[in-house]
């Protein structure tokens, strides 16, 4: 008998199965570390110390977490509507352009809290704009969203390099980046928040966009589970034909879901561009858009899950950077391996253990 239709209690589906998948992913990562001749347990200890051991380490961890919350939400919103948005990376990149243009225009005249709302809008608008064409192509022309968003990542990267090298560059400078924003175009650090917990932030760029990210988590939860649009998106995600039969407009829902997804990805740019480097640089996204895929899969596309998954990846990114200093044999790219394994086991192989668990559960219940 097939086990796919046997229902399992929620604590197994949402607790045990993801946990098992995660354990396997980390177990294999440990094997890789062991294979290259290092002790996986020492590596793990160094990684955790590097991520959470000092105030500035926690600051960096939370800085990465902020970016991953945004991109994780971006992937999750599209996922609820049954769309796989691989383009968060490119949308975040273009979103940075929106944020930077606002910061460059306003930073001389107004303080940061006036710039911030406009920058949020600018980033979200540009990110959504970059998601619009793939969304429209999917909705109206039936072009596969996965392929078009991959293409748009590359087109966006080419466009941004062109703009930074030829248009936005400071005349006379060599580095392809904009001028440094004045304090009016920067998001202040959250050192007071760290001080509340008795930790020193130091040079870590943990900033106000963390709070924006948490607000967005709440808004996404509200959207998906408490609004008509969210209901329509989820229906579309579960069964497009049922959604259309129920009178839910396909094209409109697809396009709106992708615009929101792109907007959230765009907002990610606030964190590195206005919160950390205070300028727009080439490749500032640095793969955060792709981490969003792992975060969303691990967090089961729920904002609370996404916060925890983003924190986990924040720890991996900061701890991994620290680890590569302590153990030069383990390069930073070890994080990319872990990320890939998490996506593989929490995503593509998510039901690998299900049949076995169904058998165990049924035997347990009968007994």
């Amino acid at each position: 008998m097939s086990t796919a239709s046997v229902p399992l209690p929620n604590w197994i589906t949402y607790g045990l199965i993801p946990l098992l998948n995660l354990i396997v992913a980390f177990f294999i990562s440990g094997l890789v570390v062991w294979w290259i001749g290092e002790n996986p347990f020492t590596a793990l200890r160094l990684l955790i110390e590097g991520a959470l051991g000092r105030g500035d380490a926690i600051g960096f961890t939370l800085f990465y977490t902020t970016s991953f919350i945004f991109t994780g939400l971006s992937v999750a919103v599209a996922f609820h509507a049954g769309l796989f948005n691989i383009g968060s990376e490119g949308q975040a990149y273009i979103g940075g352009l929106g944020a930077a243009l606002v910061a460059l225009a306003l930073d001389q005249y107004v303080p940061w809290y006036v710039t911030m709302p406009f920058a949020i809008m600018g980033a979200a608008l540009f990110g959504a704009g970059w998601a619009f064409i793939p969304a429209w192509l999917q909705a109206k022309r039936g072009s596969h969203i996965v392929i078009t968003t991959i293409m748009f990542n590359f087109i966006g990267a080419a466009l941004m390099v062109y703009l930074l090298v030829n248009v936005l560059i400071v005349p006379g400078k060599m580095a392809p980046e904009t001028r440094t924003f004045l304090p009016g175009g920067q998001l202040p650090k959250l050192d007071w928040l760290m001080a509340l917990f008795g930790a020193k932030l130091g040079p870590a760029p943990f900033n106000v966009s963390f709070i924006i990210a948490l607000v967005m988590c709440y808004l996404v939860w509200l959207l998906i589970w408490r609004t008509k649009l969210g209901y329509e998106m989820r229906t579309l995600g579960i069964s497009p034909s049922a959604a259309v039969y129920a009178g839910i407009p396909y094209s409109r829902t697809v396009i709106i879901a992708m615009l929101i997804s792109g907007g959230l990805a765009g907002m990610m740019a606030l964190n590195p561009v206005m919160g950390a480097s205070a300028r727009l640089q080439v490749e500032f996204v640095g793969g955060a858009g792709f981490v969003g895929i792992a975060v969303s899969l691990m967090g089961r596309s729920h904002p609370v899950g996404i916060i925890f998954a983003a924190l986990l990846f924040g720890i991996l990114y900061q701890g991994g950077a620290d680890l590569s200093f302590e153990m030069p044999n383990i390069t930073r790219e070890m994080i990319v391996v872990i990320q890939g394994l998490v996506i593989l086991f929490a995503g593509a192989l998510e039901y690998m253990f299900r049949p076995a668990l169904v058998h165990v559960y049924q035997r347990f219940k009968r007994a």
Binding site: V32, I36, I86, S143, F154, V336, V337, M352
Partner: protein, 323 residues
Amino acid sequence: MDFFDIVVSILGSTIRLSIPLLFTALAGLFSERAGIFDIGLEGKMLAAAFASACVAYITGNAWLGLLGGIGVSLVFSLIHGFASITNRGNQIVSGVALNFVAAGLTIVLGQAWFGQGGRTPQLTGEGRFAPIILPFVDVVRDVPIIGPLYANVISGNNILTYLAFAAVPLSWWVLFRTRFGLRLRAVGENPGAVDTAGISVTWLRYRAVLVAGFLCGFSGAYLAIAQSAAFIKDMSAGKGYIALAALIFAKWKPVPVMFACLLFGFLDAFANFMQGKAVPGIGEVPVQIFQALPYILTCILLAGFIGIAHPPKAGGVPYTKER
């Protein structure tokens, strides 16, 4: 350099830049025709490049290097098959995951084994595929037009280049003139019908992804031990995605795949040539336009503005036997 020499030189590099695309796009062709989306082409190519460079360095033999590349690429294919065929997981998620694993693992292992920042040691002599000089090159070199084309474009490539072009008619023959090919295409359009006929959908799809892995092994080996003489980190640099674009651009057909790869290779070669040169009347054309052009063209095609690309009907849908 006069105009004709420029043409010959651009055509020469067009061939060299198209070969990895061609192998990879043909790999995607087999997989996607059988209904398995393969975003992981990029990762397979990268992993194969790394493995072939390592084996070629250790053994000093390019052919063993190629075998090593194929072997690792097949392992990646099997994981993709296990996730997307056996476990009916999301094929795109699986492909994305494998791309990350390959991107990370090649650098981690490369650094741990060789300590050169993710590079493998330089290959010499038998460790890489050398250019082959075809017969009569010296005789015809001075013949106008045909001579330089024969000497610099057709001759002087390595064995993998000729194999890539041989793989095109071979793929066509396998897909459209053999029973295996007919069934493979059928399983990508209507797996239920294939199952009803008593043929195993699972085994057919596994064979398709294994063929894809086999071909990606060649493209990876080409990058590391034919075109270059070492593995350099992230050396596939998005070529797997360009190959995917070429596959779609060619509407999932073998001979058009070759022309699409040559076109995208030409764009790449032309962009390299145009770098820093001014066009009369327009000025310097930004090189990024040429870099983005394959992707833009593919999107326009996908939008249905240059004919319509029909993907295999059952593509991306896991096959469930029972209801």
